[in-house]
């Protein structure tokens, strides 16, 4: 179990305990955090669970994979901190993770 803080576009924070191995996307969807659509259900097939990882967590969450990278390119708000949250699995090292949600999912 580790704590993830999801920050909505308007600044509203949701601190959620997410089980180890569960994706950051699922942590949001299962707990009703608004702003993550996850249309493809976590298959790395769309870009609707886009998040911006807080800069201090970027190294631990790592780089997007190649398919993820292509899909992130579909998101108009993509930046250097962008990840698809379905591709970040919760681990003890990520306890305290902060992710910011974009204005909309595309």
């Amino acid at each position: 179990m580790g704590r993830v803080t999801y920050v909505e576009y308007d600044g509203t924070e949701h601190a959620i305990d997410v089980e180890e191995g569960v994706s950051v996307m699922e942590g949001a969807v299962r707990n009703g955090v608004p702003g993550i659509d996850a249309d493809c259900g976590g298959m790395c097939a769309c870009a609707t669970c886009h998040v911006h990882v807080a800069p201090e967590w970027l190294e631990l969450t790592g780089e997007p994979g190649s398919q993820e990278n292509e899909l992130l390119d579909l998101a108009p708000e993509r930046d250097a901190y962008s990840r698809l949250s379905c591709q970040i699995a919760m681990s003890p090292a990520l306890d305290g993770l902060i992710v910011r949600l974009p204005e909309s999912q595309h």
Binding site: M43, C44, A45, Q67, E70, L74, P76, H106
Partner: protein
Amino acid sequence: MPPLEEMPVSSAAPVPDLDTSASQARDVAYSVPIDQVDPAQPELFRQNDMWWNFERLRKEDPVHLSEGGEFGRYWSITKYNDIMAVDTDHQTFSSEPGIALVREEDKNRESEFTGLSMFIAMDPPKHDIQRKTVTPAVSPANLAVLEPLIRERAAKILDDLPVGEPFDWVDKVSMELTAMTLATLFGMPQEDRRLLTYWSDVVTATPGQGLVGTREEKFGIFRDYHAYFTGLWNERVNSEPTGDLISMLAHDPATRDMSPLEYFGNVILLTVGGNDTTRNTITGSVYALDKWKDQDAKLRANPSLVPSMVSETIRWQTPLAHMKRRATRDVEFRGKQILEGDTVAMWYVSGNRDDEVIERPNDYIIDRARPRQHISFGFGIHRCVGNRLAELQLKVIWEEILRRFPEIVVLEEPKRVYSTFVKGYESMPVLIPRRN
């Protein structure tokens, strides 16, 4: 072949839009040997009888080869997860040179429009570059600007509808709203908006099936369409950027040097994608809520279900029935040997009815647990770029309908489009008995 009575029975209970007249069509679908099943039959789509081939293929031969029919040799991918696997593997399954099945008689026939290309039918990196040029038109910021305009137009369209007398919903509402929106996106005069509807229909029309008589006639209309948009390009390219799609294409370094046929191809893509799909889903929503009265009552009791109803309609309608790919290499897929160069049809219309992924898929249920889980927008890098604009138009028209009309009665079955690609409606007579 087993006798008919041994055929597997449908797992779904009877549903309102697949009534008893369909059972005959179902018998026909199950009566041919499986290797002769060919789901790409436009007449079945016009009759709304295409479901049974797909039901059968999902169960008996989910990755299926058809040969010798109207569209020649092609593979059908019919299950949700298999479609997703193909859609997300653009290295193996290319979108070039086109994304809709082509009739045998049209293959290898040259015309002045041969070589027409559009970014949906390109692979990376060119696809990514051109797609990015037009993406700002449907950005959150631009949608926020468009929403009040769409709402004002939707209100006017609905306020002008006749009450107590029959009219065609497709013509008076679905076409009007979507044509207005697209004309705005293109920066066209509003009085020309219905040209877009017409051209969109011509693009996807089969010669000899109503709208256009012959292939030559179709290309003649293309010439007018092309000339119109060449005029718009010339206006935009010689003035400051105006923020509309044509201006974006004419000024962006990535697209301003496009060939005329590439420009025209992208115009066609944006016309069909930005008009036809949303139009048919708007009509589909009225039809489905008339057939499933319990869902209509649910929506009216709880208007906050509108966004969920919109997603469910997009799934249930599946306004584009398939997308085509071309295998770039020999590949074994689910035990089948697909050869380099083979045509592969991802049948979204079938994937959206796959009961391994979607519960009671033939039923229209506006408050599903995960309404956004559908394959109508596709997945992977070609996923629909205008999906949020489509959802916005549907949401707005329904919010405005609910304010005005307690009931919309569908008077008879709609006339459906003769196409294996565009799954839509030519007309649908309705009656609004009274206002709120």
